[in-house]
Chain length 147, copies 2
């Protein structure tokens, strides 16, 4: 990264491409990804900005690596197993290792958040049918999750 | 960290103490620190929020670890050797390894920014008299730096 300062405006950033959330899959909806800082050269983590459009949701998944999230725009709800919580700008969301999680947007404005994750992270795993059945038994979860 | 969601409002966060920037030293002015997420358990980095009050500045220093910064409030100027750049909300600042840097606030509002840094990072070093002399020869730097 050669430039020390890159401008941000309207939740887009100079020299940062707007990317798909994931290359493949139909287990998410209306999600974009911008890699603000990549790991390497003195930084162990990636810092990404995700935006989930109206009616959208991220993948229901879990993994060994944790997520550190700061909400920047919009309103939404997040499952961090076993809790479902409302979120709004500047809230912090901690997703511990191996914890099922999913973000959903509430209302007409996109839900946007920064997310820190280790550069050398493991791949996310989706729930097996048995795990999904178990997860759905938690209060409120059956009506919340989108798969 | 037991709670999945912690509220943020007015650049303070639930269960996050407002800390001094550093324990000792007189090479900074009007700087506070909040540790939003600490490293460990699946996260290699710390995510901190720093706020530099009107007239304030961080320490002029460098270190092996890099910084990934997202400005959240206020206006300021930053030295990332050899550049001095104006910064405002949502701008990204990358401080590479071993690069002299210092943040200063412009105007009456505090300058606030998120900063990602490795958990196992090296200690910052201040410039020696010879390094400072060399640094001051860069355009604009002599009038900018505060030590």
């Amino acid at each position: 990264m050669s430039r020390s300062v890159r401008r941000g405006e309207g939740f887009r950033w100079e020299d940062v491409p707007l990317e798909p959330y994931k290359e493949t899959g139909n287990d998410f909806r209306e999600v974009s990804r911008q890699l603000l800082f990549g790991h390497g050269e003195g930084l162990a983590s990636d810092l990404r900005y995700f935006e989930v459009g109206p009616g959208g949701h991220t993948t229901l998944e879990r993994h060994e690596h944790a997520h550190a999230v700061v909400v920047l725009r919009g309103r939404g709800r997040v499952l961090v197993d076993p809790e479902i919580r409302e979120i709004r700008p500047f809230d912090l969301v901690h997703v511990p290792s191996l914890t099922w999680h999913q973000f959903r947007t509430t209302g007409d404005e996109p839900l946007g958040f920064l997310c820190v994750a280790d550069g050398g992270r493991d791949r996310p795993r989706r729930p097996t049918p048995i795990e999904l059945e178990e997860l759905r038994r938690r209060p409120g979860v059956a009506g919340f999750v989108r798969i």
